[in-house]
């Protein structure tokens, strides 16, 4: 992989659209030199790379919020900043264009790919993703490939590879590829503990089965209803046809004739029933009359005889007796008593006469009974006569025509009652005959039963039709209700089934994740061990080229580097540390394509035997000389010259005397030409008049370096090729 070009628009000090910087791709001259004075935007140019690729900046980059040149902002309109970086990855040319408008809060990026010759769709510009670029230039390598000058001084990889805004360990781990496995293992272990994989309580099978059965039942119910709804229109049509036929049939019957016939029949039946009742009443009447009075029919004469005999006895003085039998009995019992009539003493003759009288006089008890009985006999006669009178009235018999004697009276009334019975019986016979004749088969009897059946059938058809219509009317509501029930049952079943399935799946996933995490851990450990060996070898190789000393570098597990001499720790000097840092960068850049190849080809077996090759990833090194004094310049120059990689080097013309020593390694050179007014350059104590134009000499050619132009309102930098 190597950079092809960089083009900027309104980026920081670079006002307007700059000429593109084309990077040297000559393996023998891998350095692209960018010469610029202080304030020309060397660090800004370094960050043009990181912003374009990662929308990020290097450590210590000032005012990252002010990306657009102030003059561009001041000019108004719709100013924007844009950086376009073109890279070549194995023949495929990727162009990453990132733009941010002043009015936007974020940038937009567009990536295109133009496949190289021999590849599919070679030469075409295809849309791509920034992730395609990250595949070979991952974000984790940013700190290695885009290295700010300050870090050369502050970072000591013998003390640690993390800090000062840099994380070289992460970069190395990313380079070696095992960070993926470490991260994956960590993520997997986290995932195992995640809530989403926490297994809920396992549901019992019968619970699931019951929910399923319930769902099937509701579904069947719903299906039946749907089927019924489909059938209903036909059923209603059939019912309507049947109703029409029944209506027609019912009309065939002569309702008036039937009604007249039924009325007449009912009248005859009423007559018959009335005659029955009349006969029954007549029989009841005669029975009652006979029961109460019939004995009197014959007893009347006997009773009357007794009454007359008693009357005669009364007239004969028998009842009541003229002389009390009790007085006579007392006179007989006490002979000394005087006569109760004359008061004179009674002689024997008188007593004899009293005795005679006593024999003739009715016993007082008998006399009393006789009087009582005569009263009863007369009462009996009166009662019977009254009953006869009542019966006569009931029988509607003329009272004047009735005999005086009770026997005759009762006889007559009995005859009248019997006549009534006979008449009633005759009336009943007649009524029954009339009804029988009316109902006989000979007559033209309307088929009342058939009519009634037709009417009943019609009513039945109406009911059936109406029921079907009502059912259809209510069908949608019933369907909705059934659908709701079915849906609820379905959801319940699915929820429970899913819960159970999730339980099993989660168990499987948990096991799988745990096992995978363990495998990844082992892979990561092995990769780390082999990668560490490769890195240590590359680092020793590069460092030995830079400084000719018998130092042995040992890379620890955390990629901290120990410097050993004869297996003893040695504290390197500052220049040795700087060279070591550059060697570190070079080792990473050099191994990067090798490891990428290994990981792409899945040739992990090569790990531990990977060596630096001709291919190396580019490194952008920002002003490496500026933090150091002359003492370390030579070391830096040697180190830079020995980096077998594409190197983008920004520096000031003050470093040219060192650069010139490795001038043959410079493939392309550009001047970051600054235009400014004196006031902008002035610092405290300076006078504007002290500033003059500067030029820079490169390979015998003089080019403007700083141009004082009082008409320029602010500092602007232009990229100018040497």
């Amino acid at each position: 992989m190597h950079f092809v070009s960089l083009r900027m628009h309104n980026w920081r000090q670079y006002l307007g659209t700059q000429e593109p910087i084309f990077f040297s791709t000559d393996p023998d001259k891998p350095i692209t030199l960018l010469l610029g004075p202080n304030g020309s935007g060397k660090t800004g140019l370094l960050n043009a790379f990181t912003w374009c690729l990662y929308e990020d900046f290097t450590a210590g980059f000032g005012q990252p919020e002010s990306l657009i040149h102030d003059l561009a902002v001041a000019a108004g309109g719709d100013p924007y900043v844009e950086v376009e970086l073109t890279l070549d990855d194995d023949g495929d040319e990727f162009t990453v264009t990132r733009r941010r408008r002043l009015i936007d809060d974020h940038s937009t990026v567009r990536v295109t790919r133009r496949p190289g010759s021999g590849k599919a769709r070679a030469g075409e510009t295809l849309e791509a993703s920034v992730n395609d670029v990250y595949n070979f230039l991952p974000r984790s390598l940013k700190d290695v490939f885009f290295f700010p000058a300050e870090s050369l001084q502050t970072l000591s990889i013998t003390d640690g590879v993390v800090g000062h805004g840099l994380d070289l360990r992460k970069a190395v781990e990313s380079l070696l590829g095992f960070d993926t496995y470490t991260r994956a293992s960590s993520n997997l272990n986290t995932a195992v503990q995640a809530n989403m994989l926490r297994t809920a309580q396992q549901l019992r099978d019968q619970t699931i089965e019951a929910a399923k059965t319930r769902w099937e039942e509701t579904k069947q119910e719903l299906d039946l209803l749907r089927q019924r709804r489909l059938q209903l229109p036909d059923l209603i049509a059939q019912a309507k046809d049947e109703l029409d036929r029944a209506t027609e049939k019912e009309r065939e019957h002569d309702e008036a004739a039937i009604e007249a016939w039924v009325t007449e029949r009912d009248r005859l039946r009423e007559d018959r029933d009335g005659a029955k009742n009349a006969l029954e009443a007549a029989q009841t009447r005669i029975n009652g009359f006979v029961r109460e009075t019939h004995h009197a029919l014959y007893a009347d004469a006997v009773i009357e005889d007794a009454v007359r005999a008693l009357n005669a006895a009364e007239r004969g003085g028998k009842i009541p007796p003229s002389v009390s039998s009790d007085i006579l009995d007392r006179l007989l019992e006490e002979p000394d008593l005087p006569c109760v009539v004359c008061g004179r003493p009674m002689d024997d003759e008188a007593h004899e006469y009293v005795s005679f009288l006593r024999d003739q006089v009715t016993d007082s008890n008998v006399a009393a009974n006789a009087m009582n009985i005569r009263g009863q006999l007369r009462t009996w006669q009166r009662t019977l006569r009254q009953q006869a009178a009542d019966a006569a009235q009931a029988l509607d018999v003329d009272a004047d025509s009735l005999p005086v004697a009770l026997g005759g009276l009762i006889s007559r009334l009995t005859d009248a009652a019997d006549d009534n019975v006979i008449a009633a019986r005759a009336a009943l016979t007649e009524a029954e005959a009339a009804l029988a004749e009316f109902e006989s088969e000979d007559r033209d009897v309307p088929d009342a039963d058939a009519s009634q059946k037709a009417v009943a059938h019609l009513r039945g058809c109406e009911r059936h039709h109406n029921e079907l219509v009502r059912e259809l009317d209510g069908m949608q509501a019933a369907l909705d209700e059934a659908a709701t029930r079915e849906n609820a049952a379905k959801l319940d079943y699915e929820k429970k089934a899913q819960k159970q399935q999730e339980y099993h799946q989660k168990q499987v996933v948990q096991t799988l994740l745990s096992d995978t995490a363990e495998v990844f851990d082992r892979i990561a450990q092995e990769m780390k061990r082999y990668g560490q060996q490769d890195f240590q070898r590359a680092l020793n190789q590069l460092y030995r080229q830079m400084i000719n000393k018998p130092y042995k570098l040992e890379v620890a597990e955390n990629f901290m580097v120990r410097v050993l001499v004869n297996d003893k720790d040695r504290a390197p000097s500052q220049s040795e540390k700087t060279a070591l840092t550059i060697a570190f960068l070079g080792a990473v850049a050099g191994l990067a394509p090798q490891y990428r190849s290994i990981l792409t080809r899945e040739g992990l077996g090569d790990m531990g035997n990977v060596r630096l090759g001709k291919d190396a990833f580019p490194v952008v090194l920002d002003a490496p000389y500026s933090p150091f004094d002359e003492t370390y310049a030579g070391t830096i120059t040697n180190a830079i010259g020995d980096l077998a990689t594409q190197l983008v080097l920004t520096t000031s013309k003050d470093s040219l005397r060192h650069i010139n020593k490795i001038g043959d390694r410079v493939g392309r050179a550009y001047v970051l030409h600054v235009r400014t007014n004196s006031e902008s350059l002035a610092t405290e104590g300076d006078s504007a008049r002290d500033f003059v134009n500067e030029v820079v000499e490169w390979r015998g050619k003089s080019q403007p370096y700083v141009t004082i132009d009082e008409s320029v309102p602010d500092v602007t930098t232009n990229i100018e090729a040497c």
């Binding site: 029955k276 006969l279 029954e280 029989q283 005669i286 029975n287 009652g288 009359f289 006979v290 029961r291 109460e292 019939h294 004995h295 009197a296 029919l297 014959y298 007893a299 004469a301 006997v302 009773i303 009357e304 005889d305 007794a306 007359r308 005999a309 008693l310 009357n311 005669a312 006895a313 007239r315 004969g316 003085g317 028998k318 007796p321 003229s322 002389v323 005679f356 009288l357 003739q360 006089v361 009715t362 016993d363 008890n365 008998v366 006399a367 009974n369 006789a370 009985i373 009863q376 006999l377 009996w380 019977l384 004697a405 026997g407 005759g408 006889s411 009995t414 005859d415 019997d418 019975v421």
Partner: protein, 179 residues
């Protein structure tokens, strides 16, 4: 001692015909059963009929008996029993004296005339046929029997001995106002 009226068992058929069954409710059944609801009513009616026909006899011994207190509580029973006993005694008032003897005489008079009346009805039933209804039987009896008028004149023609006191007073010219 209680007196009883005995129904001769020979009269069972006519008695069953004349007494309706309380369990019989149909019109047809009632037509074939009698208007009387109790046996004692039949006895009273039959005694009156027998007296009219002057038919009386002692019934053959039978288990079908009616106690005096029950019998005389039937309508007309007391009156008819007295009248019959009084007539049988040839209008001797002694028959109405208190006591078992006179009670027995009254019940006996009723029993014997009833037996005579039932004899007559049984004979008629045989003549009329077994299908004859109670009412038909009664109406037939009414046709067959001529109702007699009272045997005694309304005036006092019964030969009673005059009260001796009245006779004595009459002889002494003391009863000028008494006919």
């Amino acid at each position: 001692m209680a007196a009883y009226l005995t129904i001769d068992s020979a009269h069972q058929a006519v008695v069953d015909l004349l007494v309706s069954s309380s369990r019989t409710s149909s019109l047809a059944a009632r037509a074939k059963t009698g208007p009387f609801s109790e046996l004692r009513q039949v006895a009273v009616f039959a005694a009156a009929l027998g007296a009219t026909l002057n038919r009386d006899r002692l019934p053959a011994p039978s288990d079908q008996k009616i106690r005096d207190t029950v019998l005389l509580d039937a309508k007309g029973a007391l009156e008819l029993s007295f009248a019959l006993a009084y007539r049988r005694a040839n209008w001797d008032l002694a028959v109405i004296a208190d006591g078992e003897e006179s009670l027995a005489a009254r019940v006996s008079a009723l029993e014997e005339y009833a037996c005579g009346g039932l004899d007559f009805l049984s004979e008629r039933l045989i003549d009329l046929g077994a299908t004859t209804s109670a009412l038909e039987l009664l109406m037939d009896a009414k046709k067959q029997v001529t109702l007699r008028d009272t045997e005694l004149p309304a005036s006092d023609t019964i030969d009673h001995d005059e009260d001796p006191v009245i006779s004595a007073l009459r002889r002494r010219g003391k009863l000028r106002n008494i006919p």
